[in-house]
């Protein structure tokens, strides 16, 4: 399912959020700051909230 995910740029190190679905067809992504394609989906936004609560 499409959800808001936290991405981390492996080039400039910035964190940002973007819609992502690990099961759906991928699309080309780039870092909003440095334009690098080395962006890694870390976890969906909800799961951080859960982690924070836990």
């Amino acid at each position: 399912m499409e959800k808001m995910w936290v991405f981390k740029c492996q080039r400039c190190g910035c964190d940002y959020q973007e819609v992502y679905d690990p099961k759906a067809a991928l699309r080309e992504r780039s870092c909003p700051q440095c334009r690098s394609n080395s962006v890694r989906p870390l976890h969906d936004v909800d799961s951080t909230k859960r982690q924070a609560k836990g």
Binding site: A25, L26, N37
Partner: protein, 605 residues
Amino acid sequence: MMDAGRHPLIKLMSYSEIEDVNGYVGNFKVTVRKKARYVDETVCNSCGECEKVCPAIHPDEFQMGLATRKAVHLPFPQAVPSAYLINMENCLGTNPIACGKCAEVCEKNAINYDMQDEIVVLDIGAIVVATGIDVYDPTQQDEYGYTRFQNVITSMEFERLICAGGPTVGHLVRPGDHTTPLRIGFIQCVGSRSLRDGAGFCSNICCMNTVKDTLLIRDHYPDAECSVFYIDIRAFGKGFEDLYDKSREAGVKYIRGIPGEITEDPATGNLRMVVENTTTRSIEEHEFDMIVLSVGVRPRADGGDIRRHLTLSQTSDGFLMEAHPKLKPVDAPTRGVYIAGCAEAPKDVKESVTQASAAAARAGVLLNAGKVTVEAITCTIDNDLCHGCGACEKVCPYGAITVDKGAKTAAVVEAACAGCGTCGSACRFDAITMRHFTDAQIVAQVDALLAERQSGKVIVFACNWCSYAGGDTAGTSRMLYPASNRLIRTMCSGRISEEFVLRAFRKGAPIVLVSGCHFADCHYIDANRQTVKRVYRLWKQLEKLGIRTERLQLEWISAAEGPKFQKTMREMEELRAQVTQEEIDHTVKVLTEQFEKRRLKKVRS
């Protein structure tokens, strides 16, 4: 046009679109959708009775909206095929109660409201792509008031107004009050040579088109005054400078300077502008009866479909990329496909015709040869090792592999395999060999490159079509970057298996870059999606092993993106310089332990 319509060897399929292209050089299967015209073109004799009774009126696209047409219409008088069609979006309704007038008057019974789109599959050896361009729409450039002031028109609209076959039968009138304009201004480079308006390139044809227009005006209306506002007049072709001279001799004023804004006098509909004449360095004020925006061209907005079907690439400005800029100017990177005309770059009629003949000749070479050899880079499957897991079948973009899960075997259709190698990387049992890009060959390169002075090197895996070619482009343009990178070429980034990347790190690489084509450019349909999945998995694995994930980088670089290749290589060097020897030693140790553990497990099983 007529000749093409009646040539015995040309099958004309108008009002048709390419739905799908399969196959490979010399053996394409092309699916074409013949859209329903609702008028049988083989029967219609274009008598025009239907049009007379049709009550639905719509702006005529051919006349740039300066005249009207009916829902049932002939695209233009000289149309080929010379047959009417009904635009169903404009038609009042096919139900005889709603309208149905055209069918009533058609003596030939050519009108059929129930006509359906027809799907045709063609067997094709060679393909010429001549999809052309769009003309720039200046609506967004509001400072010229194209949509606000009636007497500001585009050069395409001018073309219809001066044409004997146009809405005014060749009498030049301005749209505001239908009077003949006697003071006409032309503004050049509208939508060209301006990054603000999204196109840095020169549209190539507009300067000479304006020169032509001024001569047409002076020819029809000797009293009319023309002024042309320009950045440069590019009259570079055969006979061009003569024509430009003729225009100046005819009294046309050429003023080097582009106005910032046009205003309208609401009482007269006349147009005013202030412009800096950069030749005389003075500010000038001008008033005109009509202003023509000399609009540039754009790559076709709908060009993406054809590009995807034929796996073609585009340059940064959106035009189709040739296989080689000098030596293969009309060959597409996909074998058996040739490109010509404005789809390749903006060009005028003569150049288009020249390139068309070149593309036809190149296609003819292939067709005359009658046979084609396919590079021996396809995959082979060892069914003794195959477990029938189906991973290869799942990732093959061409559906070339069929797995028999029961028999634990897989089979590949060699003619359908394009050799991307993504199956080879997906196979966990070493059952697939990519000919000429085997694991052993690639691993040998990794090992050789990392035999010594490892800490100074960035290992780059690059796909043949885009990122490796982007490196070539950087080279051809002499774009300097640090000498630390070491490229390993594969046909597609989908070939880059996780094992190769881990091996590079195990052999002491500080940084590994995986690079390929942009998603839209992938030469193997979508094989590079697998690359992304593998990199995601690798990042996860590196993290688990306590290796900084930033040491594995991913970048899409197209063949035209020399500057991006250069920038990326500079960034890789910066990242490399941050990796310490201790870090490398630790990585080597961790990965060697993991490797040994896995090897032992394999030996035991």
